[in-house]
Symmetry: C2
Subunit: 252 residues, 2 copies
């Protein structure tokens, strides 16, 4: 049984600050987490001393500190999947000239773990570290399509598990299954306007040595400005990248 409440509280503070777009007052942190105000200050001072939190004295607010950034960067450098995937993604971007990203499945969400901008494309509004519902993204659909069906059913056990975005996305397990069946037939997943209006994505899954999806890889493009022939090339490139990554992950 874990027995270090102060440690857990410190992590809860970090995760609360991560969820807030702006720095927070200490009293709000204490209230939101149900901590004693004096304990909150103790925790914040420990976090500040280690650099995980910084105190914006003028505003009397507390925000994440640079050590949080360094910790996340260390994870990115260490994580085998990210290390292996980076060159694959770079080649995909160079080949398609569109932005590309890599996701992993976490619960019913996908987590964006790498994003790379293509030359001349908009500066990335950093989506790395962001979670989105898997069924609303091409990369997520590609992953779900190769999951065992009972696992998909377990993930989406009730209607409450379905969320929409911009009025799009499946609203039942039957609808989701139908869509996943199309993904499998087609060999790749597509998504349009669900994440960002005006943008479409083509996604495919990368499998590990057990034949299970380790990641989803996708390219995003403005669909009104990409001709069908170019789109076919994007599809081809995405599928090749997914196959390349699968091989690197020991698949088959």
């Amino acid at each position: 049984m874990s027995n270090a409440p102060a440690a857990a509280q410190a992590l809860a503070v970090l995760q609360l600050l991560a969820r807030h777009a702006e720095p927070m007052p200490a009293a709000a942190i204490a209230r939101d987490l149900g901590l004693a105000r004096s304990s909150t200050y103790h925790l914040l001072n420990v976090l500040r001393d280690a650099g995980f939190v910084s105190h914006l004295g003028d505003d009397q607010r507390w925000g994440l500190g640079v050590a949080a950034f360094e910790l996340g960067s260390a994870y990115s450098r260490q994580a085998p999947l990210q290390r292996i995937s980076r060159p694959v993604l770079s080649r995909l971007v160079d080949r398609t000239t569109h932005n590309a990203h890599l996701v992993v499945l976490h619960g019913r969400d996908v987590l964006y773990v790498i994003e790379e901008r293509a030359q001349g494309r908009p500066s990335l509004v950093t989506d790395v570290g962001v979670r989105l519902p898997a069924q609303l993204t091409a990369s997520g659909l590609a992953i779900l399509a190769v999951l065992p069906p009972q696992q998909v059913r377990a993930l989406f056990a009730s209607r409450d598990d379905f969320v929409q975005r911009h009025g799009r996305g499946p609203t039942s397990l039957t609808a989701l299954r139908s869509e996943l069946s199309q993904v499998r037939t087609r060999g790749y997943a597509i998504e349009q306007d669900s994440v960002t209006p005006g943008l479409a994505s083509v996604g495919a899954a990368a499998l590990d040595h057990n034949g299970l999806p380790a990641a989803g890889i996708a390219v995003t493009y403005p669909y009104e400005r990409v001709a069908p022939a170019e789109r076919e090339e994007v599809v081809d490139a995405v599928r090749r990248a997914a196959a390349d990554l699968s091989r690197r992950l020991g698949h088959r």
Copy 2:
């Protein structure tokens, strides 16, 4: 006086794991941090439950978890400097067709906070979140060159403060001052082979509303393959990017 030792210990565990390239056994974590073994397990279990650490059961080792990545990503999305700098860097990469990066000064080191790859260039070996001695990097030299001289002296108070890499870099305050003087005269900083053999960098500082350096911005290129005319264009682009970022930061 901060008073939550378990919180501090949890953070120390995270920072230890961040410094290690590979996951570690619990006993090594306990030994390295001088913690009781049983307490170490408590801490690791708290960290694991929150997702900051993952346990690799097959190997009986503990490594950073995905929540560390999410925390670092949240910082990057929130940090004003990073948000403001990203489009500037993207334009610099597109214009020069070489990899570029942004650093901030931390103590005597620079911390790499953004790196962006250019099309056709090598996949980035992620240097984001890495620290290097400021005096060995073009971006760091550019920052030091516009720091008040007494601050430079305070940073490099003794000969022990000077480190070299690949046999390069200043070894005394006098040598450093001479180099900074050249940077100021030239208007930009250059570095060659100090960080990575075969690569050179051109760097310039971005100033904030107080006229102090908020960041260093640099482009890295293989110097044997870049003609003098192209190098002049790189210099021009870096200086323009630094000036653009300075304006965005409220300078002048």
